[in-house]
């Protein structure tokens, strides 16, 4: 079976296992609640991750377009980047799809229904592209975090310094002549 059909046909099974994989990286008590609660405002982590995965899955069925795939990846990684995960663990969910798809293919009874080696290689290529994007996004999130820290320290006393004439600022506009 060709890759596109395979992925479409097994979408709900693979998505479910993929979602469970990522949620199981949280402690068990937490995972239970993150899986159960469906209200997106009561459970933003579970629901945002799920939405992101749904979007990414559609991207994988086609080819990976960085423009359209990035926002979905961003949804998930922006959360993981500020939680208690090492960088590798924060983006591990991308790689695990290689296993999940292979397992799903192996489970098929009819050899006609499995994926060929070529298909698998092509799928791995898509995952690799996604992984590179994921790496970029993770780093952007962490950089943003440090930028916020620095800005906050600066803003805190800016008005005071300005008032105390301790700042010599270049005016925004050229003085009119």
């Amino acid at each position: 079976m060709d890759l596109e059909n395979f992925l479409t046909q097994h979408q709900s099974a693979i998505l479910k296992r993929w979602f469970n994989f990522i949620i199981d990286t949280y402690p068990p008590e937490t995972a239970k609640l993150f899986k159960r609660e469906k209200d997106p405002f009561a459970n933003p982590v579970g629901s945002t991750i799920f939405q992101g995965m749904q979007g990414l899955y559609q991207e994988l069925v086609r080819e990976i377009d960085p423009e359209t795939a990035s926002p979905f990846l961003d949804k998930i990684i922006r959360i993981r980047a500020i939680q208690d995960f090492s960088p590798s663990r924060a983006i591990a969910f991308v790689f695990v799809l290689k296993d999940l798809v292979r397992e799903q293919s192996r489970a098929a009874d009819d050899p006609e229904e499995t994926l060929s080696q070529d298909d698998l290689t092509s799928f791995d290529g898509r995952i690799d592209r996604l992984a590179m994007l994921a790496f970029d996004i993770y780093v952007q999130c962490r950089e943003k975090l440090y930028e916020l820290r620095v800005n906050e320290v600066k803003n805190r006393t800016h008005r005071l310094l300005q008032r105390a004439n301790l700042l010599a600022e270049i005016p925004d506009q050229e003085p009119s002549l």
């Binding site: 994989f21 949280y26 402690p27 068990p28 008590e29 937490t30 609640l33 993150f34 609660e37 209200d39 997106p40 405002f41 009561a42 459970n43 933003p44 982590v45 945002t48 922006r78 959360i79 500020i82 939680q83 208690d84 995960f85 090492s86 590798s88 663990r89 591990a92 790689f95 695990v96 799809l97 290689k98 296993d99 999130c141 943003k144 975090l145 916020l148 820290r149 800005n151 906050e152 320290v153 803003n155 805190r156 006393t157 800016h158 008005r159 005071l160 008032r163 105390a164 009119s176």
Partner: protein, 541 residues
């Protein structure tokens, strides 16, 4: 075939696997971004807090006093007798779990010890061991444990990972208020000299100089005069506020954050404009120059001490009553604690609006009126001329700050004012506002930069709801009535919902307020062009 590890085996080999031990026996790990710097000894000394010394949470040795266990047990005993609510909260939790997933820190971090029930259990387990019969006999089986240094470290980690927002209490069938447990937990930690600099420095400054940053009277006055100039630039109207004026009818007190930090400064401009326009007989104080009270995050005693200075100043100046600006925890202190702590303030008069004649009966005892209520009353009586269209460049939502919302039930007044000063207002989903509002994630003295990562976790549920109205309605302005919110929501938005800015309600009032003698306005208070004025020449302003 060569053995190629599977992707998820590779991952399993990394780190942060769930611990094998139960929560009671798993010590905390102080990772950067998840804890706040410790209180400096000079600040502890100034206000007489115990055990001043230099130390850091990542040190092995926290330099606790010799008899630290005794101090904690004695402190716990004293508080159990003093606060009946505390003993009840220790005893009656049935572990039903209704509160478990209601805390923003749990929702955003996924750390089970941020479930309110477990946060309380950190203290309760020690209470059980030494204060209940079952715990004494059965120990761990009854959920009891020994008090060790690791337990104290865990308290420090998690009691400074609770913003005392009270959201969990809304969902508890018994009304257990975990915020109160955190308050006592922090009080006990303070007995050992365990506190954070972001709280002790403001406390010390407030005690010595009158405000969190230690702005001295002349500089405070200078700052406000600076805003007077900015207002004149935008409106053409010259305002003349007074300072420490004896015999004024009203003393106005607001958090000092409004004086020195954007975007609170624009809210302060709104206050000045409003008071000028209605001809209010009021004064600023350069001594009671802080509405905030970080004593609340230290101990009951410290809260009382800092609160008393506002009333001492009202007495000294001989005003009739106090008007309070847009602040969060100042109102919690006034509404929940002031009356039994320092009240009743009998030397003041029951507040009456000099413009509308409305009696603020709810402030009968504390003699302090919330500005948003005062303004809502002005609008209701048609005393303000407002041009809503001057906020047409903004699509506004409202963040119910935890304290006015849950400690005061203050829901309608801000929305009433907002709907009268802007045309585009959109509320966030119901389970994220009003009494169910989500905390900004940085309250109760946790708004420090080294804590940014944890703040992003704690603020995630709030940001998620803002994101929803941003995507649905194009909301680009998040309004609030708390100075800590105004300081911490901008970075939160920057990370989670870029394109949304933060404002106080009275900044929007200032924009809409039609003032006598003003020239045509082309910009808002921030100098941003008004709708339709994008091309106008601002050179002459």
């Amino acid at each position: 075939m060569a053995s190629v590890p599977k992707a998820n085996e590779l991952i399993a080999g990394t780190d942060h696997k769930p611990p094998k031990t139960g929560w009671m026996d798993t010590p905390v790990e102080f990772r950067p971004g998840t804890w706040c710097y410790s209180g400096k000894s000079k600040n502890l000394e100034v206000v007489g807090l115990p055990n001043p010394r230099e130390w850091s949470p990542i040190d092995d040795d926290w330099k606790l006093p010799e008899n630290w266990k005794e101090i904690i047990f004695e402190g716990l005993r004293e508080r159990i007798h003093k606060y009946r609510s505390f003993q009840l909260f220790m005893d009656i939790c049935v572990r039903c779990g209704a509160c478990a997933d209601k805390c923003h820190f749990f929702i955003g971090s996924g750390d089970p010890k941020n479930m309110p029930v477990l946060r309380a259990e950190l203290l309760r387990s020690v209470y059980r061991k030494d204060f209940t019969l079952a715990g004494k006999i059965l120990g761990k089986m009854a959920g009891a444990r020994e008090l060790t240094e690791d337990v104290v470290k865990e308290w420090f980690f998690y009691f400074f990972q609770c913003t005392e927002c009270r959201r969990c209490s809304v969902f508890c069938p018994y009304g257990i208020d975990t915020a109160e447990i955190t308050i006592i937990g922090r009080e006990l930690l303070n007995l050992l000299g365990l506190n954070i600099d972001w709280i002790t420095a403001p406390v010390a400054n407030c005690y010595m100089t009158g405000n969190h940053l230690g702005i001295q009277p002349h500089a405070f006055k200078d700052m406000i005069e600076f805003f007077v100039e900015e207002i004149e630039e935008v409106t053409g109207v010259k305002i003349e506020p007074t300072f420490n004026r004896k015999g004024a009818e009203i003393l106005f007190i607001t958090p000092s954050g409004d004086v020195f930090a954007d975007p609170g400064t624009y809210t302060l401009m709104g206050y000045l404009m409003l008071f000028h326009e209605i001809g209010l007989d009021y004064t600023w104080s350069t001594y009671a120059s802080e509405g905030g009270n970080f004593g609340l995050f230290t101990s009951h005693e410290m809260m009382k001490r800092l609160n008393s200075k506002m009333y001492a100043e009202a007495k000294r100046l001989g005003v009739k009553w106090i008007l309070g600006g847009e602040c969060g925890h100042m109102w919690r202190v006034i509404n929940q604690y002031m009356d039994t702590m320092n009240g009743p303030a009998d030397f003041l008069e029951e507040p009456v609006s000099p413009i509308t004649g409305t009696k603020f009966e709810n402030a009968k005892s504390t003699k302090m009126v919330h500005l948003v209520e005062f303004t809502a009353d002005l609008i209701k009586h048609g005393k303000l001329k407002l041009d809503k269209s001057r906020n047409d460049h903004l699509k506004v939502t409202f963040h119910d700050s935890c304290n006015p919302a849950r400690a005061m039930g203050f829901f309608e007044e801000p929305r009433y004012v907002l709907n009268n000063v802007c045309n585009h207002f959109y509320d966030m989903p119901p389970n994220t506002i009003r009494e169910q509002t989500f905390c900004c994630g940085s309250g109760s003295g946790l708004n420090t930069d080294e804590y940014m990562e944890m703040r992003m976790r704690g603020g995630l549920p709030r940001a998620n709801a803002v994101k929803h109205v941003h995507e649905q309605h194009g909301v680009n302005m998040l309004s609030c009535i708390c100075a800590i919110d105004r300081a911490v929501l901008p970075p939160l938005m920057n990370y989670w919902v870029p394109g949304v800015d933060v404002t106080g309600v009275h900044e929007l009032v200032g924009n809409a307020l039609v003032m006598e003698g003003e020239h045509e306005r082309t910009t808002d208070l921030r100098g941003e062009p008004l709708e339709g004025m994008e091309d106008s020449d601002n050179e002459d302003l």
